[in-house]
Symmetry: C2
């Protein structure tokens, strides 16, 4: 049993905390943040031990009636590993503290690869993370790219992949941050950062992406043109994708025609926040033309990295050295597959 | 001087009417529709002669105080050519009337290629339309595809092209028709219809498209991955695009970062309705990687086919047999370039 701290109780952090909490081989010792509003009340309701990241925050939390167990240092003293889900820049500072104290840590995809020297995607490179001191769970978009392209690579089908990424404007709960209305906003740089980011996990991937922000908040959508190593049947391609337990093949003809219908289905399923941990890939839209493959899928930017983070904890702490076993265990605990 | 009728005074029709009206080699004899609300008042203000498409419509128009010059037949008796901009299905019926009377006609991209047996894109196949009885000006998306790929083809750079089309949800003035909110809705079929549609003009093009509807109303955006015939420099590619007077190279770094900023610039320029007749292609985003080309552009779905329609009138009536001369004349009249 390993003791784990969660630092940064935001959109990703609150989900990671709940996911850690349902594992039988790790203990969530506490969550640490600076907020004292409705957001931290969720941790209070769930009876997580709450730690304050700064002395100012501690005062304000206490003034808001929140029972504070201690400060960041108090929390770090009790754990084997920290999952840091704080925003960019803050995580980079925290990392210095973790390193100094020799505590293993995981950061999220907003951080640079250099922060940890290792980037993680369970189905691709779990083994290389076993017993490491630190890793970075790559971002939602990059995770989806790695899952799908790794599946094609395993089946020896992948030559190269070119993707257009339609990014949600901002997170569902946000009102302004990055939000846009009635327009589309491209990322200036082609290639966009997601392709090189995927290569931080798997340098062999030949992948180039372009990205554009669209005015909706539910999830991302990707369109891919893939050059296969050889002509293949649609069945061969689907069989390749089926080797991933975290790619969910969905059917347009069964009414799943958009991001919002997919979201509603996951809410129907009773997933917390309607979370979709899987890449939802349209089986009936997928098309093979000679040695070219075309498909589209949806990525839940708040949820897809949650199972990855749990696997990363197992890899770093050495609780489990076998990728397949960790993935199965995580999947079962979160109701995937 | 050729006499032209405009049937169907909607989003495209009202623009075509104004464009015909500023040419010196064709006369707008009248506009014909069934509407009697604010929309037709625009034609009244512009002092166009108004004809009623049905006897019912004629009664209602007169009841609304609109001076009606006659019915569709009265209009047809006075013209050499009809531009039909009515909605799908209605145009198909009208076409039977035009054919029976031996009047030349142009339909818009919503109609099938079979309706006319010829599809038109000025920079690609003007010559093949000269003195024909009928043609179809291809849709906004297809027009943009043809302009850009024809430019690459002229420079002998184009091997094949794969595009992802982000379509506006509905026209700016519409409240519900096709409108979507806070989601994305893919077209089920890959390839989407625009690729084959471009091949109705130029069967040599190797082009495959996917399309997805996004919740905004201003314009479409396309992302393209193009395989070049050989490795090329960015300059060579830009020079190819510069051979089209209807591709406008724009700069992200000069603040044109989205559909809405581009729209505002064209409103600043005093274009009617802020119309953008050009494909607005980001020069600084464009990227060449070996023999692969990546770029994105914006398409004004209400405006891009207007100059094409004027050129099609010249080709069909034989006023001008030279594509280049017609395109230049149209451009000058509409302030393009």
């Amino acid at each position: 049993m390993k003791n784990v701290a969660l630092v940064g109780y935001g959109v990703i952090g609150k989900r990671v905390a709940d996911a850690i909490n349902v594992q039988d081989d790790m203990d969530l010792i506490g969550v640490c943040d600076v907020i004292n509003d409705w957001r931290i009340q969720n941790a209070v309701r769930k009876e997580y031990d709450i730690y304050a990241a700064t002395t100012d925050a501690e005062k304000q939390m206490k003034a808001s009636g929140i029972s504070v167990k201690g400060n960041l240092q108090d929390l770090l003293d009790k754990v084997d590993l920290v999952v840091d889900c704080t925003p960019k820049n803050i995580a980079a500072k925290n990392v210095e503290v973790y390193k100094k104290q020799g505590i293993k840590f995981i950061v999220q995809g907003g951080e640079k690869h250099q922060t940890t020297g290792h980037s993680f995607s369970a189905e691709n490179n779990y083994k290389s993370a076993v017993n490491l001191d630190a890793t970075r769970v790559v971002s939602c978009n990059t995770t989806s790219i790695l899952r799908t392209l790794t599946a094609l690579k395993r089946a020896d089908l992948l030559d190269y992949a070119r993707g257009t990424l339609l990014r949600r404007a901002t997170d569902p709960w946000e009102s302004h941050l990055g939000g846009i209305m009635n327009t589309m906003v491209p990322e200036k740089d082609i290639p966009s950062h997601q392709g090189p980011d995927a290569q931080s996990v798997d340098p062999d991937l030949d992948v180039i992406t372009s990205a554009v922000k669209v005015p909706e908040t539910l999830s991302h959508m990707h369109y891919w043109n893939v050059k296969l190593k050889k002509e293949a049947s649609k069945e061969e391609v689907l069989n390749a994708f089926k080797t991933s337990s975290r790619i969910k093949l969905i059917h347009y003809d069964q009414g799943l025609v958009s991001n919002n219908t997919i979201k509603e289905m996951f809410l129907d399923m009773g997933r917390p926040w309607g979370d979709m941990y899987e890449v939802a890939l349209w089986e009936d839209m997928l098309k093979v033309v000679g040695d070219e493959l075309f498909y589209a899928y949806v990525v839940d930017n708040q949820a897809i990295v949650i199972p990855e983070t749990i696997d990363a904890i197992r890899a770093l702490t050495g609780i489990e050295t076998d990728a397949h076993k960790s993935i199965e265990k995580t999947n079962e605990s979160l109701g995937i597959g």
